[in-house]
């Protein structure tokens, strides 16, 4: 079966600016439980804005090897040259000169929560990280502003040779591994924000799983922005050697400010022969954060990569986790949920590139928009000549909750091989009066009925997430839904 499709569909519900304006501006705060901020007490804060000196300063503070300083400076040049993406959301309001690019909140990293400054510890307590660590995680890393302030990994894992640390430590302690992989999958010139990250990166996780080691409990990284007009640029590198297995989870929150913050991460993952990596994101940034992230995986023969990507927060997210299927029988999956409420744009999707025979990919995307929120599914599936007997499955469903909201689908397919199998499904549905009436006739309040339908709609993806996170995700969605009715 041959396919060459370049489809662009757009479903827009009537977009009423008027209703939007008459609604209160300040009520976004009532349902976002992580909107609090702590006193800003940096031990070091680079001056506002960005130039080559700040790039050098960041590198010098970290005591980096020369090659990394050079890499940063080159990336800064690329950043200056690169144009802003002209698609996706509105990026014109980002003022690069008004952002703080590096902010260090503690003198050193600790491995006991009690050793953290009180306000930072309180932050993580309120988010519930130490509790989660006790109950079901194999390792935890907590990044506050630019640096990872807390790190702890199960001792048994360390004995097996598993490395889980922040990227800065990795560069210091494992320079040979870092140098081999860093920036090879997502080079600085990939896009403007990857270039920016490459120039000013700080923190992020480094995960190395040796051959045959299966990490049964998840590793979790927690990213927190606390101060205003701040840019967080963590850099994550995961290497899963032959036959290994690991599940990495990241969570993100920030306080609510009237000014904008920027989060531009780069995540590179290498899944070796027959290894398996699952990367779960529960993104719940406050609604003043631009979330512009580049994530990519290289899959070798028989390797399996799963991205589980949940985007609830931020004012604008542009994120398309990718899998490059280079080895035969490699598999890639992206399961994603996007929720856009008032003044939010979630431009999310996936990229699957088939380079080898017998590879398979699966994209399942569920998006929900309400109160003028806007979601887009933007996906690319590319099958190169020779990637025979490959299979592609794309399913994107959008649920629109009211007349003000909108959902668009941009499913690009570039298929250059005949001998493959493709399935593509896309649906757009409005939260129907009939279903609401059915549930309400049973005695459910309107809010409960709407939540039940929205959670039901997301269920194919939420069931893939560890229980603790799906409960949290469902709670978040329910709060968002109550906001719409209340």
């Amino acid at each position: 079966m041959a396919h060459f499709a370049n489809v662009h569909t757009s479903q827009q519900a009537h977009n009423s600016q008027l209703t939007k304006m008459t609604k209160q501006q300040d009520d976004i705060q009532f349902d976002y439980k992580y909107g609090f901020s702590m006193p800003d007490k940096p031990v070091f804060k680079a001056k506002k804005g960005l130039d080559a000196d700040i790039v050098k300063q960041i590198s010098a503070i970290k005591g980096e090897p020369k090659w990394m300083t050079a890499f940063r400076l080159k990336s800064y040049e690329v950043f200056l040259e690169k144009k802003m993406p002209s698609w996706g959301g509105d990026l014109s309001k980002i003022r690069f000169e008004d952002i703080y690019y590096y902010l260090r909140s503690t003198e050193k990293q600790v491995n006991s929560w009690d050793d953290l400054p009180a306000e930072i510890k309180e932050t993580y307590d309120r988010i519930g990280v130490p509790e989660a660590e006790k109950s079901f995680l194999a390792g935890v890393s907590a990044q506050y502003e630019s640096e990872v302030v807390y790190e702890s990994v199960n001792k048994a894992l360390s004995k097996q040779g598993v490395i889980f640390c922040d990227m800065d430590t990795a560069l210091r302690d494992h320079p040979e591994i870092v140098k081999q992989y860093f920036g090879t999958l997502i080079p600085p010139h990939d896009n403007k924000f990857a270039a920016l990250n490459s120039a000013v990166w700080s923190g992020g996780s480094f995960v190395y799983v040796p051959k045959g080691v299966k990490v049964t409990l998840p590793l979790q990284a927690y990213f927190r922005i606390n101060s205003e007009r701040f840019g967080q640029f963590e850099r994550t590198l995961i290497i899963a050697e032959e036959g290994s297995d690991v599940h990495y989870i990241e969570g993100c929150t920030a306080p609510i400010y009237t000014s904008d913050s920027l989060h531009a991460a780069v995540v590179e993952i290498f899944v070796k022969k027959n290894a398996h990596v699952r990367y779960t994101t529960v993104q719940n940034w406050s609604k003043n954060v631009y979330n512009l992230v580049t994530k990519r995986t290289h899959c070798a023969e028989g390797a399996f990569m799963e991205w589980v990507d949940c985007n609830i927060g931020s004012q604008l997210t542009m994120k398309y986790p990718s899998v490059y299927l280079h080895g035969e029988r490699a598999r890639g999956e992206v399961l994603s949920i996007a929720f856009a409420g008032r003044d939010q744009v979630q431009d999310a999707g996936a990229k699957m590139l088939h380079f080898a025979p017998n590879t398979s990919s699966r994209i399942v995307s569920k998006s929900i928009s309400k109160e003028g929120g806007r979601t887009s599914y933007r996906g690319l599936v590319q099958v190169s000549p020779g990637a025979k007997n490959s299979s592609v499955f794309v399913s994107c469903d959008a649920l629109i909750l009211d007349e003000d909201s909108r959902s668009d689908t941009y499913p690009y397919m570039k298929i250059k091989e005949d001998d493959i199998e493709i399935q593509h499904e896309a649906t757009v549905e409005k939260l129907g009066d009939e279903k609401l009436f059915y549930l309400m006739s049973r005695g459910l309040s309107k809010a409960d009925a709407e939540s039940a339908l929205v959670l039901g709609f997301m269920e194919p993806v939420t069931k893939e997430i560890p229980l603790e996170y799906s409960i949290e995700l469902n709670r978040l969605i329910r709060l968002e839904m109550e906001g719409s009715v209340g």
């Binding site: 059915y438 005695g443 039940a452 039901g456």
Partner: protein, 237 residues
């Protein structure tokens, strides 16, 4: 218990019910019959409060003395009314247990809900597998009707309206539904909307109401259903 006074109902400006006056008494079983388009389902929807069905401002629907017309469907449900849908929807990702739990919202222990649902499913011949699937996903017409009856039983309402619970149901299923409804009738009030006499052989009505063109044209005993079966609606005036 349910009192309809000059009930006029329109959908998109078109008047479907043209003034119905009737009082339903507690504990009785009523059959509502009538040709297609006579307004039987409209009657059911307007009692439950479907937003698309506009009740005329001079009309009244009173339930145990309280006016229903201003109430939302969930408030009406809490007053004790249940509607079994003619074409029950399927709900992706929502299981019947979840639905019942949310509907009862703390009034019944979740474990008890599960126990009851399982017990009723067995009596109605609903497979355990179907019970654990999202509501009605991949279910046949007959299975959907049974699922409505199951919900009715767990929710324990006082006034139950069954909108064509017998259509699209095979003989054996019809038998098990009727048997079930008879067993759990107790002092509940049933309004059974139907085209056929079939179900009325099992579920003996106290009264048969005949609707034609949005009006209630005749009220009689069970024998009226037999007359309709033999002679159709033509002879009813």
């Amino acid at each position: 218990m349910l009192n309809l006074k000059n009930l006029k109902v329109s959908i998109e400006e078109k008047e479907i019910l043209k003034g119905i006056d009737f009082e339903f008494e507690k504990g009785k079983t009523y059959a509502v019959m009538g040709p297609n388009g006579s307004g039987k389902s409209t009657l059911a929807y307007s009692i439950m409060g479907h937003p698309a069905y506009k009740v005329h401002e001079d009309s009244k629907i009173e339930y145990n003395g309280a006016g229903l017309t201003e109430m939302e469907p969930d408030e009406r449900a809490r007053e004790g009314i249940f509607l079994s849908f003619q074409t029950p929807l399927s709900l992706s990702g929502v299981k019947v247990f979840q639905l019942l739990q949310l509907a009862l919202n703390g009034k019944k222990d979740p474990l008890k809900i599960r126990e009851e649902a399982k017990k009723y499913a067995k009596e109605l011949g609903i497979s355990e597998e179907l019970l654990n699937r999202p509501l009605n996903e991949g279910a046949s017409g007959g299975e959907r009707k049974k699922m409505e009856v199951l919900q009715a039983a767990v929710l324990e309402k006082d006034l139950l309206i069954f909108d064509e619970v017998d259509t699209g149901v095979d003989v054996d299923s019809l038998k098990s539904i009727s048997k079930f409804l008879t067993k759990y009738k107790k002092d509940k009030t049933y309004i059974v909307i139907t085209h056929y006499n079939r179900i009325l052989h099992h579920l003996k009505p106290d009264y048969v109401l005949v609707m034609v063109s949005g009006r209630l044209v005749k009220v009689g005993g069970p024998e009226l259903a037999k007359t309709i079966e033999d002679e159709g609606y033509k002879t009813i005036k």
